[in-house]
């Protein structure tokens, strides 16, 4: 168990000719917290991680660990551990040497590292012995003790990933930085590894930043998630906050992959009317009559009704096709009014009821529906539902 430390980023700006830039980021990560940085590729999330590690220079702003700035330090002095997407193991070294590398390079002098002097100096021998013990302990913890004498090329993807994890852990870092460490694993292994990873993090208690582009992965293992687009933070929150109250349409879309239904408010108004006997129809806390822009809801919050069944008013749609997904299915439909495509989650045994071309009525849960300014509005503005943190 390490002494967990908190991380504070203030006004962080990175400007480059080539890499993705960062435009003023502010956030805090509490000691021992597991925070994901989620965003599409090219949004700057990897750059952020590298800036914290000191691998890329920052232009403005500060990075503080336990209140102490680490801006001027070399990467190796920052007490951060980094796991790379490609694992970045040293190809010509055995796993043992890979695990030992951070300790050898920081704790032994150039003399102590050399084969001859390293054996002569008693101090170097002591350090080497302690390095050997720590390598063995780390390997045991990650169950790679049987692989120590192999080279990376002789390992499977999952084994390499664990060696990379071990090389990061062995330094007993203040901060644990993971750059898509699961992206190169196959689907089955990825799910198992991600729970192993979270369990490991809980056990050692290190403050962790985890970069990913997979929203399901981020939702599954994070205490909190930072959503980034184009070098800016769009929203910070717990998985539940993000799911229930996305800050803007981009965030909503990104978290609702693969499908989010986005319908112009005007069409919803025409289909539903503005009020029922019980009072005004409200979406996202606002009366439908006052809403401009678009209304967004997820496939799982929509249902289909037949035209001949008596039901509440809804959106009139025509069925395009269905995709079987096991117990449930996605029904692809288009609004009769303006051809907007929508997706409805139905029970897979109901597919037969909805052949291509059939018309029906689409209902959606008003409570789980979000309202955003129109598609082309400035997305930097706060959305109407939820809160934006930028």
């Amino acid at each position: 168990m390490v002494q967990a430390k908190d991380l504070e980023i203030e006004g962080l700006v990175c400007r480059y000719a080539t890499t993705m830039a960062l435009h003023g980021l502010d956030f805090r990560v509490a000691a021992g917290e597991f925070v994901s940085i989620l965003g599409p590729s090219g949004c700057g999330k990897s750059t952020l991680l590298r800036a914290i590690a000191g691998l890329v220079p920052t232009t403005e702003g500060s990075i503080r660990v336990e209140g102490k700035s680490i801006d001027g330090l070399r990467p190796s002095e920052r007490a951060v551990a980094f796991v790379f997407q490609s694992y970045a193991l040293y190809p010509h070294m055995t796993c043992r040497a890979n695990l030992a590398a951070p300790l050898v390079m920081t704790e032994l002098s150039a003399f102590g590292r050399s084969a001859v002097f390293g054996r002569l100096s008693p101090r170097a021998r002591r350090v080497q012995a302690s390095i050997g013990e720590r390598v063995a302990a780390t390997a045991k913890q990650l169950e790679i003790d049987g692989l120590l004498d192999r080279r990376p090329a002789a390992l499977s993807g999952g084994q390499r990933q664990r060696v990379a994890l071990g090389r990061a852990l062995i330094r007993e870092p203040d901060l644990f930085l993971l750059d898509e460490p699961l992206a190169n694993l196959d689907a089955a292994l990825r799910n198992r590894t991600r729970s192993d990873l979270r369990a490991l993090q809980r056990r050692i208690g290190a403050t962790t930043l985890f970069v990913t582009h997979d929203q399901a992965e981020a939702m599954a293992i994070s205490d909190r998630i930072i959503v980034m687009f184009d070098g800016r933070i769009r929203q910070i929150g717990t998985p539940d906050e993000l799911y229930r109250a996305p800050a803007d349409l981009d965030v909503a879309r990104f978290l609702s992959q693969p499908h989010l239904n986005v319908v112009p408010a005007e069409i919803v108004r025409r289909a539903l009317g503005e009020r029922t006997r019980a009072g005004d129809i409200r979406i996202g806390g606002r009366p439908l009559s006052a809403i401009e822009g678009v209304v967004a809801f997820r496939p799982e919050h929509a249902t289909m009704a037949r035209l001949d069944e008596p039901a509440l008013p809804g959106l009139r749609v025509r069925v395009d096709h269905a995709e079987h997904g096991g117990s449930e299915a996605n029904l692809f439909v288009r609004l009769v009014a303006d051809d907007t495509p929508c997706v409805v989650r139905i029970a897979s045994r109901a597919i037969a009821d909805w052949p291509s071309g059939r018309e029906g009525v689409l209902h959606f849960e008003l409570d789980a529906t979000h309202v955003f300014p129109g598609e082309h509005a400035d997305m930097g503005e706060p959305g109407l539902s939820g809160r934006a943190v930028a």
Partner: protein, 293 residues
Amino acid sequence: MNATERQRRRVGTALALPAGTLLAVLLLLPSIGVLSFSLTDYQFGMPGFDWVGLANYAKLFTDPDIRRSLFNTLLYVVMVAPLSIFAALALAILIEGEGRLGSVFQTIYFLPITATLVAMATAWEVALHPTFGMVNAALSAFGFAKVRFLSDPDTALATLAVIGVWKILGYNTLLFLAGLATIDRDLYEAAAIDGADGGWGRFTLVTWPQLAPVTLFVTVITLIRCFSEFETVAVLTNGGPSGATDMILFTLYQQAFRYFDIGVASALAVAFLLFVALLSIVQVSLFERGGAA
């Protein structure tokens, strides 16, 4: 810029400095020197020189010996380049179809690449010798008249061209084989489904278009090597008989290091550089398009 960045720059400069300095001193500055020499009448050993403008370049077109040398070079290129390129392509395709046996032929064809050309040229000379050479012995065994390959002005350049093809064929075959190995097998299956399952159909639909970049690369390399032919002339004919095999590099060598006429030699060197640089520009742009970052 942080400390790491500064250290990276320092180390980068330190690692690149020796190479940069030596490139400038040994290659770039002397080449600029040649440009200036070509505008003078400097002769090695003479105390001074005069600027003569483009007179040395005019000499390349007027001096009958130099003109013949340039003409011979072109003739040599025309004889060697097309044959060694297309024959190599054909051989590469044949070898590829042979599987295990192909690698035996491959090894045999590659042998001239490593062989010392001076030794091999001498061996060719012996093989072509009118009285005891293997080739003439074979010719007379089949009832043909003996040929004085290297001492007859009508056959000397063609004979050097044959040796030139012999020398370069294996290397070109190697390049084509490397190119063939990069062709995606799926393309052949797709071509077969599209109806091109015969040899010629496969070649025109898949092999030839896929090899186009390699072919260009091979062509450039071959042209440069043909323009630069020197050893066979220097060892076997000395430009003779009566100038029939004089070629640009041999003339350059003689002007510079036998007659010490630095002005004319420099003009020839600049002309030679222009040939090679033009071809190299094509080559480098291919390199950059295909291989670099």
